[in-house]
């Protein structure tokens, strides 16, 4: 295992210390329970927005703490949902008197831990609402299963909902917008290589030199199927088609297209994939009116990418364009 770390046990805390040292103007970090809180929070009279999940997906979520996005993030152990103590501490820390929204990705662990935290927060008199993202079309959806994973839409949702809260929307309104983003967004990912979890010390799965995984999540779990390596154009097709067909996205739609790197993918390849996606959507009459290209929701050192499409209307576009000031996303300020 080749990593810039001291010991698997300390990766999360030491990286948190690095974030705290690098961004004192934007955020503060508390330990045990570990939370990353907006430096100028809690913002009085604003709905607090928190999110969280396992570590290893950086910059998500800690890199999205700041004005116009998250008020706090709860980083769990590597690829492990945080514990309720973290969400409770974060909820209390960001409560500005107008309630708190929990942004939860649909993983059994995340959902249960956030649920327990919400019960505890309610017991302490804080109004909490939750949105669960489940945008991964690689997973078949059903009432009788754990359902779809929350992936790329989470990043877009945190930005858009953060803007709504910043503009003064109340908890019900923030929750409505959150659910709308989740309903209008779809994602799918693929991996060229496995990632290596520090504690495991070796790749999560073995992938021959001429094969790739289609339909992976962000935790080094194998995907839906293993296929022969293909060209960028073919891979783009394998990701875009299921996304477009699922919502479905239709000719005339305006979308935000998000091409995401998995952590070990060079930016030049992401722009090349964006070019392929752009070509595919153009042919379908779908217009990309906003985009995001980069590694924002990652899976440690995995090489690969994911596509996310979010159907835009005026409301969502305006919220996307609103100023944001976090370590990983910044504009308008």
């Amino acid at each position: 295992m080749k990593k810039l770390i001291n010991s698997p046990d300390n990766v999360v805390k030491e990286a948190l210390a690095g974030m705290a040292a690098a961004h004192p103007d934007l955020l503060t970090v508390s330990y045990d329970p570990d939370i990353i809180v907006r430096a100028d929070g809690p913002v009085k009279g604003k709905v607090g927005i928190i999110s969280g999940g396992g570590s290893g997906h950086e910059p998500m979520h800690g890199g999205f703490v700041g004005m116009g996005m998250l008020d706090a993030a709860c980083p769990g152990a590597m690829f492990t949902s945080p514990v309720p103590d973290q969400m409770l501490a974060a909820t209390k820390a960001v409560d500005g008197g107008k309630g708190v929204l929990h942004i939860v990705k649909n993983y059994t662990g995340d959902v249960m831990n956030f649920e327990m935290a919400a019960e505890m927060a309610a017991a302490e008199g804080i109004e909490v609402a939750a949105v669960v993202t489940n945008d991964d079309v690689a997973v078949k959806d059903s009432l009788y299963t754990a359902g779809r994973r929350g992936v790329g839409v989470t990043v877009l949702l945190e930005k858009i909902v953060g803007a709504a809260a910043q503009s003064g929307a109340d908890l019900a309104e923030v929750k409505r917008i959150a659910e709308k983003v989740n309903a209008q967004g779809r994602s799918m990912g693929m991996a060229l290589t496995s990632c290596t979890v520090p504690h495991a010390g070796k790749p999560s799965f073995e992938l021959p030199d001429d094969e790739m995984e289609i339909g992976v999540g962000i935790h080094g779990e194998p995907g839906r199927r293993r296929v022969k390596l293909a060209s960028a154009a073919e891979i783009a097709e394998m990701l875009a088609t299921p996304i477009v067909e699922d919502l479905p996205f239709a000719s005339g739609d305006h979308v935000l297209a998000f091409v995401n790197g998995m952590g070990g993918t060079p930016l030049i390849e992401l722009y090349l994939m964006y070019n392929e996606l752009n070509t595919i959507l153009k042919a379908k009459g779908i217009t990309i009116s906003r985009n995001l290209v980069g590694s924002y929701i990652t899976s440690l050192d995995m090489a690969g990418c994911s596509f996310t499409l979010l159907k835009l209307d005026d409301e969502l576009t305006k919220l996307w364009d609103a100023p944001v000031h976090t370590p990983a996303l910044r504009w308008g300020v």
Binding site: G54, T80, S81, H199, H219, P222
Partner: protein, 212 residues
């Protein structure tokens, strides 16, 4: 058989030791159909539990189990944290302020634990999770106990059923938990949670064998 608070503490210590010993094995099972952390998660939790035990050494069994439960909830994370945490919490609530448990009390505590897992996890049997080893284990234990077997042999029968349940997860298609994302590809692998639950049941039998 009389299970004292000291026996419960011995049991917890043995679970913690087993989890540490089997950490990499559990993590490896989780890497096939999950995210390579189950052993690491449980080891983090039970290592902390161990540091909490001295503080409850003179407390009733309910207090001990509830401390284990809240500690697991606060330190394990992932899916197994809330599930095992809830299990120990519910078992603690079932035993209450008793300092000694008989067979019926133990069975009641185990049933409360299972119910806790099921309601927290919204899962039923056959979905390739920890309840696929716990459920059959408790069933067999109850049945054997009702058939008037010696309680220790009832526990042995329960453990065998638990192990069989664990192995039965191999051909199952996962519909709950992280393995469900793999669809058909989840088939052919033993569930990590069903395995850790079996290891805990085994520790319980070993402690019981020391009592009689």
């Amino acid at each position: 058989m009389h299970i004292t608070a000291a026996h419960v503490i011995t049991f917890i210590e043995r679970v913690a030791a087993t989890v540490k010993e089997q950490r990499d094995y559990l993590t490896q099972l989780d890497s096939a159909i999950g995210d390579s952390d189950h052993g690491v998660n449980l080891d983090r939790g039970f290592s902390t539990v161990i540091t909490k035990l001295p503080g409850v050494a003179d407390k009733d069994i309910g207090a001990i189990l509830k401390t284990v439960g809240t500690t697991l909830v606060s330190t394990v994370g992932g899916a197994s944290g809330p599930l095992y945490g809830t299990a120990f919490l519910r078992a603690g609530m079932a035993t209450g302020d008793r300092f000694e448990l008989g067979p019926a009390d133990l069975i009641a505590a185990l049933e409360a634990a299972l119910e806790g897992i099921q309601s927290r996890g919204k899962s039923t049997r056959g979905e390739k999770t920890m309840i696929d080893s716990i459920g059959p284990g408790i069933d067999a234990l109850k049945q054997a106990n009702a058939a008037d077997e010696d309680f220790l042999s009832a526990m042995r029968i329960g453990l065998a059923a638990c192990e069989a349940g664990m192995q039965a997860t191999i051909p199952m298609l996962a519909t709950k938990g992280r393995a469900s994302y793999l669809g058909e590809r989840s088939i052919g692998h033993q569930d990590p949670g069903a395995t850790s639950a079996f290891l805990m049941a085994k520790a319980m039998l070993e402690v019981a064998e020391g009592i009689s």
